[in-house]
Symmetry: D2
Subunit: 345 residues, 4 copies
């Protein structure tokens, strides 16, 4: 008998699941009891995610037909395509905690959800039990939560950049966020937009004015402070595997120096190990494969502000933050299992 | 005896010079009579730019001590570090036309120049003879010009995106430009920020609120139309060799549909072969090694507009546009020697 | 009425077809009269190959049901998956010349063909009319040929490296070729092995001892000289879009200095514009997007030799050599339409 | 007071030092007491290696003038340019163990050393105390050693691929190794051959027949078994940051099937956690940032064998193996502090 957290991972073959495995296999308080991947059922995990070869004897399983039998599981992570957790979560025993990495439970407004995700919204009651899992702004609620809607990768980078300014009450006018992501954000399945011969020389924008992370960002900014500003959000694709970089443009009601901004951000994040306030600019190179979010803020003499933030889309933007939230839900230090450094080159 | 344009290239060893050579060696009306590169004087061009090996017998020479002896030269291109053309151009015979690829003659205001380039401004009289070489907006002046200040790479991508909107008179409020460049923009000399082991996984911002292309952009927008808007310009580094992508955020006084915008841009550029108005998003992959600028425009229901533009920083952003301007200065079709396609992968 | 060569391209949507279009659209003696791509029939070429947008009004067509109606076509290029030219070529009018970029007509021995391509060999009579299109070693035969089997990309790089040594008669012992290709060699369709998030950090071997280019290499080496040596050929995948690099290890019966080798290669290729004998090492960077093959040769004091060769797999390794062969078949200078330089960065 | 191993790192600013820090900061039995970097003395480590920002308060120091004062240090790692450890090691107190990551103490023969490293050999007596640190083949000697000459990166990949065959006694004829390395192998200082705009599209060979890892490979193969075969070793540069891939070509006296080879390698490495025998081909993507070496072996019907091996040049090829050796020298499990997985994308 041990006291480890018994974990089920639904959707272990994608990049989200791959990263959950990479982290949880080495987490001192975690024990993975189930990893599903229907198309790989029976295969060793190291056969699919060859980076994990030699490090675990776990095998993929089919998703169980009867989820009510999972009562010995302490927490279930869902790393499935949008729409699937919506169906599966209601089938779990009440005792099981949930961290969902999809967008299924991030939006409180059913109409908005249906507009952006083009899925019927079937879990209105359940939705009220979900806590939005941006750890640094929602820590106390996460500690009490049974169900966590883990933020989107773009939303994480953007919200961590904007939250201190929204909280400060000094914002004026509209906000423009120019966000860029690496190719791993498109998932583990080969597709035209991630075809190497072209992608390696590409940079382009996509979904102008229509990205599905917009409503969760606006919704959470309203939870963080007074927020009714116009908000323009634009997503672009980088020719790199990992990383999100957000450039956030805003105005303030008063002139703030670079020093003022640095103080404001350092104060806001003083208890947040995984947010590093940096000089100059963050660089996705320094956060790749880690749970860190690096942030820098600059101003000009005309009340114009830019906030840069950089994360690894699969770690702080997905699996790392999911584990950070799990730690809090189980009364652990949020850093456990997540203090691994990135590499220099 | 032939009727070809006799060309001198000052600064043939950098990437600007390398691209001038790549283009002019195959230009049917061009004859290169001098290429300088002090550190490579005497070497065959193909020894330094190995892509040109087998294609020319030209050799690098030292920069002549006495430029007044160049009276048989028709045009001199300067692809030297900032500050050098400022000293050399006044020494040329009056008969020699000039295309300067540096920033030395782009700024009409001496104070602004000295602030951004940190160089003393020594050519006030000469400056008035320089025409800003953004071909598509300044074609008639370029045809008459003796001296061309060839635009900066970021300025080219930004101005081609913004000019039609500024000209339209529909702009309201501030403009924000989030611009990204490939590593070749840093030049041919190895440096920490272009060190491959780190750069290949990097994306970062630099010179926030302080890039030296800002004044030339603002100055030329005032020439294009009524322009007094606030202007925020931010530069970032991409992990790719070639390409600039600018995302330009602005507002309009009236609601414009995507269709309206497309019409507006197509009309503005109807006689401009090298500007292609595209659907969705441009991609630097489709313009690499070419003189094309691809542009797309989108709006939302709230008068917010985004204009995306993509160019090759070394071609339309430097050597290609320089040759396009030379063509006009000598009464040729601007496309001559520049109709080469990029490659798909 | 003009005297241009009327050209049909079968298979215009893949990378081979894309490169044929990129070259032939600017070829002064070429007129493309048909480009097929069943899945894109009706679309403008620039809509699929966006690098060609603005440069042509051509549209893709379905492959004609009745090829015998193509009697006004002078030459047909086939850039289709293996097995299709085998069926289509016999349907063409006798007057049409053919350059096939697939492997269908490269192998003279039906059994060998069936073993490596796993296709039934149905064109035994036709096969005898095909000339192997390695331009530099087969120039005279190509000039007289009606049908050309254009060499494989790996075969081109390997044969150009080995031919001078085989011809010299100085070879001893076995030959080992360690060959590496960029991702564009896998074609234009997205697949697991070209998925950007993983490919950008990958290098791996594939098809050990079993690559289908082995028999065409051995067959042509026997045509070039006395060749009965053991031959080991190994293919690897590079995290770059374009380029093949072959490292060829062999022994000689006598000691040859680097100087001897250079002389031997320069003599062999003295009339071959597109082969450049270089010092040190070739680099795929210097041949990308060009029809050049760069070669270097080194030896040690123990009769061990290494020959390095670098080509662009899609140009000298496919479409460029195909056009070079077409030029010869129509009595033109082989360089026409192919003298474009690569780019430095 | 604690029982942790007190560690000094000489040369903390390069990539070798950076990786030692990344590993040792999280090693449960390690305490870093000194990290030198003369040009960064006084700076926080996280200021130079920004991946380590927030993870340590350590600062770089100048190299002490008097090394004899380091008697409280248990082990000193040297990650300095070739030639420097040669001078510093003799100055250390006798009680200090040493792991040298440079080539200074790898070669037993002074003449060979001077030929390949072009340095005077000044430590003949000391040399006899050094044990070659290829952990998997030299484990028992390493456990007893005071001084370790840590293998070169190419040597590690090559020796792990070849050792089982040499030990088997089945080798016939010459061995050819075609080895490829990522750009981080060139170190942390920017240089022409690692300039991103060109390197990202490059693949080339260097130092043909002359790489300095040749003598250490031959010397250690003679320690592993009967080895007097001809040996050709060729190094190439990959457009990727991390990774070495070696393709090793050899012959056997008898026919071995793929199955035979797999059994032979699995048996040889049955107690070696960090060597994974894989099917098909290893891929540098699966070993990046880890201490693993992945190996695959194939044969044809003609006694020709190819062995592929892949490592991370900075981990198993440098800092990781150095720590693995330190673990053994201090009686620890060799895996401690080194069981971290790489990432999938």
């Amino acid at each position: 008998m041990n006291n480890k957290i018994k974990i089920a991972i639904f959707g272990g073959s994608g990049y989200g699941g791959s990263e959950l495995l990479r982290i949880l296999l080495f987490h001192p308080n975690a024990e993975i009891v189930l990893v599903t991947a229907n198309e790989h059922a029976g295969k060793a995990i190291g056969e699919v995610h060859k980076n994990l070869s030699g490090l675990t004897d776990l095998r993929f399983e089919k998703s169980p037909e009867d989820l009510s039998a999972l009562e010995k599981t302490d927490v279930a992570f869902f790393a499935l395509p949008h729409g699937q957790a919506l169906k599966l979560v209601p089938q779990l025993p009440d005792s099981v905690k949930v961290v969902d990495l999809s967008g299924d439970f991030r939006i409180n407004d059913a109409e908005v959800f249906q507009k952006f995700y083009r899925l019927e919204y079937t879990a209105t009651d359940l939705q009220t039990k979900f806590v939005y899992g941006l750890t640094e702004t929602n820590r106390e609620a996460i500690k009490q939560a049974q169900y966590i809607a883990n933020p989107g990768c773009f939303a994480t980078a953007t919200l961590l950049a904007l939250a201190p300014m929204v909280k400060s009450g000094l914002l004026a006018g509209k906000i423009i966020v120019d966000a860029k992501t690496g190719s791993s954000g498109s998932g583990a399945k080969a597709a035209a937009n991630t075809h190497h011969p072209q992608r390696m020389n590409s940079f382009y924008a996509y979904k102008p004015f229509a990205h599905q992370h917009v409503p969760e960002i606006e919704q959470h900014l309203r939870e963080v402070g007074e927020f009714a500003n116009d908000f323009v959000f634009m997503t672009h694709s980088l020719p790199v595997s990992r990383g999100i970089f957000a450039s956030c443009y805003l105005e303030t009601t008063v002139n703030l120096t670079g020093e003022d901004l640095k103080n404001l951000y350092e104060l806001f994040y003083k208890d947040s190990f995984f947010v590093r306030v940096v000089d100059g600019s963050p660089d996705i190179n320094w956060v790749k494969t880690t749970n860190f979010c690096d942030i820098a803020a600059h101003s000009n003499a005309n009340k114009q502000i830019v906030i840069f933030s950089a994360i690894d889309n699969l770690v702080k933007g997905a699996a790392g933050q999911a584990v950070q939230n799990m730690n809090l839900m189980f009364g652990l230090d949020e850093k456990i299992g997540l203090i691994f450094s990135g590499s220099n080159p």
